[in-house]
């Protein structure tokens, strides 16, 4: 080949390289900008069940933490507008396997405060690390009770006052894992282990699942007393799709 050929070849390869790089960059930008969300509210229709007050006299420390505001069981927590708190929403169908296996780096925190679990329900992804801490001056034990046949193994660790955080993760999806403290039998919470993006309703019953790629999905809402409900939703690039749920009080 002569010099002219060389130059032509070099020019072609360089331009191809530049075009290729540009395409990659542009594609990436489009993906990030294209992620939408699913938002909505979860309501309870009918009269909410009466949540009994908790007798904490087993542990005078616990009683003292609630001297001015007695505490009730948290199986069903409804706002004045009928919004259901502590409902977990996740995508049960429609995500690709790459999207399902993505593990967020955030470590959601489960606290023991005033001898109650805060939050009452903690959602997380398979293999996502979560942290259990104690803010109380009385000893607790953390005892999650997964079904061992799912691949999630039960464990039981003590957390006296001032103990370091316990960081763990779960191996398999499980909706949901009950968590209890044996020392304070009224303490009852949940770990909800899912795959893909998720959200939990706040005290007004509203939620937003962020980081959802465009597509059509089945969203599942789970509440500890009322079980699951599903809805089909289509997320457009950069848009917020709406999915509302209503559970019926028994």
């Amino acid at each position: 080949m002569n010099a002219q050929h060389h130059r032509k070849l070099a020019a072609t390869m360089l331009s191809l390289l530049l075009i290729g790089t540009a395409t990659l960059l542009v594609r990436q930008k489009v993906s990030a900008a294209g992620e939408g969300s699913i938002t909505g509210s979860v309501k309870l229709s009918g009269t909410p069940p009466h949540m009994r007050g908790i007798d904490m006299s087993k542990d005078p420390y616990c009683v003292k933490q609630h001297e001015n505001s007695p505490v009730k069981l948290e199986n069903v927590v409804v706002s004045s507008g009928g919004g259901l708190e502590n409902v977990v929403l996740y995508i049960s169908e429609g995500l690709s396997s790459a999207e399902l296996s993505a593990v967020p780096s955030a470590e959601p925190v489960f606290d023991q405060k005033g001898c109650m679990y805060t939050p009452h329900v903690l959602a997380m992804d398979v293999s996502q690390k979560y942290k259990v801490i104690t803010s109380d001056q009385t000893t607790h034990n953390i005892h999650p009770l997964p079904n061992p046949l799912t691949g999630n193994i039960p464990w039981n660790e003590s957390q006296p006052p001032g103990a370091p955080p316990i960081v763990k993760s779960w191996k398999a999806e499980e909706v949901a894992i009950p968590v209890k403290c044996n020392i304070h039998p009224w303490m009852h919470g949940w770990f909800v282990v899912v795959k893909g993006p998720y959200a939990t309703t706040d005290d007004s019953g509203s939620y937003t699942i962020k980081g959802v790629p465009p597509g059509t999905y089945t969203v599942t809402a789970w509440q500890e007393e009322y079980g699951k409900q599903t809805a089909k939703v289509t997320v457009a690039a950069g848009q917020a799709a709406k999915a509302d749920f209503t559970f019926k009080a028994k």
Binding site: K58, D59, P60, Y61, T138, T139, N141, I142, H143, L145, P148, L149, G151, I153, P154, W155, N156, E157, S158, Q159, P160, A163, P164, I166, N182, I183, H184, P185
Partner: protein, 298 residues
């Protein structure tokens, strides 16, 4: 019809005559036989003994001695199980879940083969699991392999790593007193009570993983601790937890040296036995009084 065809028909009818009852027999015994014929090649290793779930003898032993409580499927639903009423008589272990109380391994992990081997021989005090000292070591090792074949966990998970137990130090009055401080700090008394007699404020509402009532160990009762009566056995109980029960692992909250102090203090809560002579002497010497529950609760 030609001769060939008739011959074939005869052959087929003879075969059919034997095939039909064979198939019927196979269906009836399929449930019973499947478990027993298709045992995966599960083995156990204890010292230089290898146990085998495929040995002919182990099936006989399990049927003869274990199936009555633990059941054909190893799920704890043997014929006798309905007569066990918790908390006085805990239900038989469900081997399918592979969650065991007496381990040398951390909470949430599988026990070692040796842990299971020892439990069979030792039995579990205050339960209907007797010490099975009728077996040879080989039989026991085979039974461990058989127990393991009931849960798929043994195929995908490795047993936990046994915890490190430092050498037992000399029993001194300082250590016994320090042990009482540990008992107060991590609040063992909440369930076990200040005198260790299982009468702490949370004792009456304890439930196990299956939501059945369960009692904490009563140090004053004179019965053996559930996973063995030596100091090391007691050390392991609170440093690995009794999985499946309310008893948690304190491994992250009690340092190994403090753990020995706690063992010595716990010995003072037991009535006089062959293991706690020195601790009881020290308790008398110190005039050791139970913790003040009212003060602790503030």
């Amino acid at each position: 019809m030609n001769a060939n065809l008739i011959r074939w028909l005869r052959v087929l009818s003879v075969l059919g005559f034997f095939a039909v009852p064979t198939l019927v027999w196979a269906q009836i015994t399929q449930y019973q036989q499947e478990e027993w014929l298709h045992t995966p090649a599960v083995t156990s290793h204890i010292g230089n003994i290898t146990g085998n779930a495929n040995s002919e003898r182990v099936k006989y032993d399990y049927r003869r001695y274990c199936v009555g409580c633990h059941g054909d499927l190893g799920d704890g639903n043997g014929e006798n199980a309905i007569w066990f009423q918790p908390p006085e008589f805990p239900k038989p272990r469900d081997f399918e879940l592979a969650v065991f109380k007496c381990r040398s391994t951390p909470t949430g992990t599988l026990p070692t083969d040796e842990d299971l081997f020892d439990t069979i021989a030792r039995g579990l005090d205050r339960s209907n699991m007797p010490p099975w000292n009728t077996f040879t070591k080989q039989q026991r090792a085979d039974l461990v392999a058989w127990i393991k074949h009931y849960s798929p966990r043994w195929q995908t998970e490795k047993a936990g790593t046994p915890i490190q137990i430092p050498t037992e130090p000399e029993i001194t009055p300082e250590r016994v007193k320090a042990g009482q401080d540990v008992y107060a700090r991590v609040q063992c008394w909440k369930c076990h009570g200040v005198t260790g007699e299982a009468n702490g404020p949370s004792a009456s509402t304890l439930t196990n993983d299956l939501n059945q009532p369960i009692l904490p160990y009563n140090f004053g009762s004179g019965s053996r601790p559930i996973c063995g009566s030596t100091d090391r056995d007691i050390y392991r109980i609170f440093m690995t937890g009794l999985d499946g029960t309310p008893m948690p692992s304190f491994a992250d909250n009690i340092k190994p040296d403090e753990a020995w102090d706690l063992v010595f203090f716990l010995r003072t809560l037991q009535p006089h036995n062959e293991f706690n002579k020195r601790e009881k002497e020290i308790a008398k010497q110190l005039n050791l009084k139970p913790l003040n529950a009212m003060k602790l609760s503030q």
